[in-house]
Amino acid sequence: MITVNVKCFSQVMYALDTDILLIELESGATTDTLEKIIRDRADGKLDGVSLRTAVNQKYIPDVVELKDGDEVAFIPPVQGG
């Protein structure tokens, strides 16, 4: 098993009512598996919300395998400016 830290911002924070989650996954789990878990926990509140994935504070273009201790964020549309 591995444990990852999921940081939650904006609509993700609002949907899950928390800014951080510790989630245990099977070894070899990937970012898309984790995204499905997050969306399921949101109980429909993230339906239709596009999420970009960042691992250890960097955007990743594709699905990657997660490692123990990774920091993951599913980033909803940004709104700076």
Partner: protein
């Protein structure tokens, strides 16, 4: 030269002085908080960042802008925390030899900032409630 920072507090503008002798154009942009969000009155926006990643991405974007356009200096300050209506949340200054590349570089930098820098805003409504500014789950 690049100078980017994310600050929690009022923005002090970058100085406009006579030291940029190779540059014929100095462009300054201030983004300010409007009094409505999606047609509803607000009192402020509260900006949230992904601490660490937001400033790193902002620096990367500034570097890309200077590779894409002949910009000599790009300075940017972005606020986080509560920003009242009318106050500046974003301040950008760019120096270039000619105005055309400065205007294009400024436009591209701000457009990209709005697409990729992990900063979000929460609307503070007149009743004091706080909601993600794009959220429909009120």
């Amino acid at each position: 030269m690049i100078h980017v920072e994310i600050i929690n507090g009022p923005i002090t503008p970058f100085p406009s002085d006579n030291s940029h002798q190779d540059d014929g154009a100095e462009l300054v942009f201030n983004g300010r908080v409007r009094d409505t969000e999606h047609g509803e009155n607000i009192t402020a926006l509260e900006y949230e960042q992904y601490e660490g990643m937001a400033e790193a991405e902002l620096r990367k974007l500034a570097e890309e802008t200077m590779q894409k356009y002949p910009v000599h200096n790009l300075f940017c300050r972005h606020r986080v925390g509560k920003v009242n209506v009318g106050e500046a949340s974003l301040h950008v200054a760019i120096w270039t030899k000619h105005r055309k590349e400065g205007l294009e570089g400024m436009s591209w930098f701000i457009s990209e900032l709005k697409k990729r820098i992990p900063i979000w805003k929460w609307a503070i409504m007149e009743d004091g409630s706080r909601i993600p500014s794009e959220c429909t789950h009120r």
